[in-house]
Every structure is written in structure tokens, then in C-alpha cells.
Amino acid sequence: MITIDELRKIAQQNNTVPAWNGLGIVKLRFAPSNSSTGDKSLAYHFYSDRTEANYHPIHDHVFSFSSTILKGTLQSTFYDFAIVDYETDYELRSSSYHYEGFNNEAVHPNIELYEAYKFNTLAGDDYWLDYRALHKVHPVSPNVVTLVNKINQPDLSVVWQQEQFNYIQDKHVPYVNTMFEKIPPDECWDIIEDILEN
């Protein structure tokens, strides 16, 4: 398992700090050591009760990725939906990163949602998923660490495969932009250290 000192060194080399994402993850994004572009196409993800989500919709991604579980057990649940013409509890929305409300638009105002498949990945396992796969993840063990690899170019960088990501909005749950509420970097480091030690 990587140590806190090694992580701090990676952060320093990449001129970055860990950041909390409202989906319930502290992320440390970094470039592969042999990258010519410096594109931060790798990331350590840390989950614990201290990284709790403020909003956790089912979502897809702007890139495909693989994830290797380094510690703990992570559960992934995948969903399909049917577009219907009557009022339902869920809608499919599309959004872009970075800006509150920016291009956050309804794609299908009424959908029926159902679970397609579900699996657990344990320390040492990995999984891969396409950017269009609608899913959510849930830490099954108290502390989980994963290494996410988004590289899809020969120069070890990542190119987005769709402009915006999609998410399922439960109409009874208020929307929260998961990118904007922040845990300060010092607290993120403290959380990471806690996860690594326990």
C-alpha cells in the first residue's frame, strides 16, 4: 500500500492537492511518471465515513476508466432506464463539470429506472467501465482506496469521450452540485492518513 509520504511527494511533483468530491470521495489526481503531457489521467480515490457524499446520483462519465481496488471492498451498481410518457420519480439530466447550473438540462423528463447488474470488487481486483455506463459506487468496508486510470491516448493523456455526463435526478431529492462544496486540503490529507492507517 502506498504511504502518506509517497502521496505527498506525488502531490508535490504534480503541483496539486487532494480534493473532496461531493459523491463521497477524496481524490488525488496525478500524471503518470512517464507522461510527456503532464495530463492528470490517474487518480487515487479515498472513501470513508469522513468523505460522506452530499449528493449521490446515479451517473455516467466523460471518459471510460479502469479502477483497481487497493484497500477495502467497493460495490458497483449499474442501471438501465426506459423513457416513458407519464410522470415518474426520476429524470435523466445532463451536466458539465465546473460550473453551477451550467448546461444542466433535462434529457428525458420521465424515466423508469431499474437495476441492471451489481458486483463487489475487493482489494487486488479491478474493473473497467465504459463512459456511458450509468452506475453508482458504495464502499462496503469502512475504508476504501482505489487507483483510477483514465488513460486513453498513446501519450498517456485522457480525451473526453462525451462533452457532458448524464445523471439520474430523483425528483424528490434537491440537486446539489458535487463539485462546489469543499473540504480544505489539510483536512483531506488528514482523512487520507486516517484511511491508510485504519
Binding site: A116, Y117, D126
Partner: protein
């Protein structure tokens, strides 16, 4: 690990299915699946099921590949067929020139389970020489005619076209159970 004697007491029936598995079906909704080199696959089509299920890995390691068909691709010879999985069944071609996209892969090790809905297109690959799983089907069946992805240029044989005798099935089960 269950023994051959315990299996026989479950009063089920064993049969070979051309996806490369001996199935031992018991109590209507449960089945042990036995994969080994003695039960080679004669067909490896991506498929869905008539029922959702949970599969627990009893021995070995199994990799799942999940697919979707978001549309058509004029250069693809793949097609989505729908119909019964029985010898001689008529199937309709639901999507010719299907654009088949791999959506997810994951591996499940002994002692762990995964869950799949009836209409999830998938295939599995054994990562160890012998794999045993215990399948729990959701009853009643949720559809009669599941989908299959086939290659129009290279049609597969029917998965039931090369049956094995009861004796052969039990020999393979015993072999797969052994170390």
C-alpha cells in the same frame, strides 16, 4: 465445498450446455454450474436470460463482460436475435448490423457474488481452469424470449446441439469438484 454425494441428494438433473458448462439444476430456481476443459464451449454468443439471477462463485475466478447495443453500424456483421434457447427454435432478428459496445468488465472470486438482471447482455470467461458457481434464479421468469448477439457471417451452432449423457455430465462434475 459441496461433495458429489451431497449434490446427488439434491435430486436435480445435470446437462451440458454449449456455452461450456455442465448445469446441475435443482429446486426449480437453483443450479450449480461447472466449467472445465472437459466441457468446452461450442458457442460463446453474448446473451441475456429469461430471469434475473445472483451467482456465487464457489471455486475459481470468473470474469464478466457486459454489453449494450446503442444502435446500428453498417460495417458490423453482428445482429441482435430474440427467441427461445431451445433446439430448432425460430428467432427473429431484432437489430441487424448491430453496434455492440462493451460497457463493463469485472471479476468475481470464490466466496463472492454478483447479480445480473434478466435483460443485461453479457458473457463470462473463466480465469481459472476450473470454476464452480451457484446460481439463484429470480422466479417467475421475466421473459420467454431473450436476446442473443450472433455473427451473421459466422453463425454459431445451437448450444444444445451436442448434448452429453448423464454419465458424462457426472464425470465432468466430479472432475471439476476435484482439486
Amino acid at each position: 465445498m459441496i461433495t458429489i454425494d451431497e449434490l446427488k441428494k439434491l435430486d436435480g438433473y445435470a446437462h451440458y450446455m454449449g456455452l461450456g458448462v455442465i448445469k446441475y439444476v435443482f429446486r426449480k430456481n437453483r443450479a450449480y454450474h461447472f466449467w472445465s476443459d472437459l466441457a468446452p464451449a461450442i458457442v460463446e454468443d453474448i446473451h441475456e436470460h429469461r430471469f434475473g439471477f445472483t451467482s456465487k462463485i464457489i471455486k475459481g475466478e470468473l470474469k464478466n463482460y457486459i454489453y449494450d447495443v446503442p444502435g446500428q453500424d453498417p460495417n458490423s456483421s453482428l445482429q441482435v436475435e430474440r427467441g427461445e434457447c431451445v433446439p430448432g427454435a425460430e428467432r427473429i432478428i431484432e437489430v441487424p448490423n448491430a453496434n455492440v459496445v462493451e460497457m463493463c468488465t469485472f471479476t468475481t472470486v470464490a466466496g463472492k457474488s454478483y447479480k445480473i438482471a434478466y435483460d443485461t447482455l453479457h458473457r463470462v470467461e473463466c480465469l481459472t481452469p476450473k470454476v464452480i458457481t451457484l446460481l439463484d434464479k429470480k422466479l417467475p421468469f421475466q421473459q420467454e424470449n431473450p436476446r442473443f448477439i450472433t455473427d451473421a457471417d459466422n453463425p454459431s451452432p445451437c448450444a444444445f446441439s451436442q448434448p452429453k449423457s448423464d454419465k458424462e455430465c457426472w464425470e465432468i462434475i466430479e472432475y471439476t469438484l476435484a482439486e
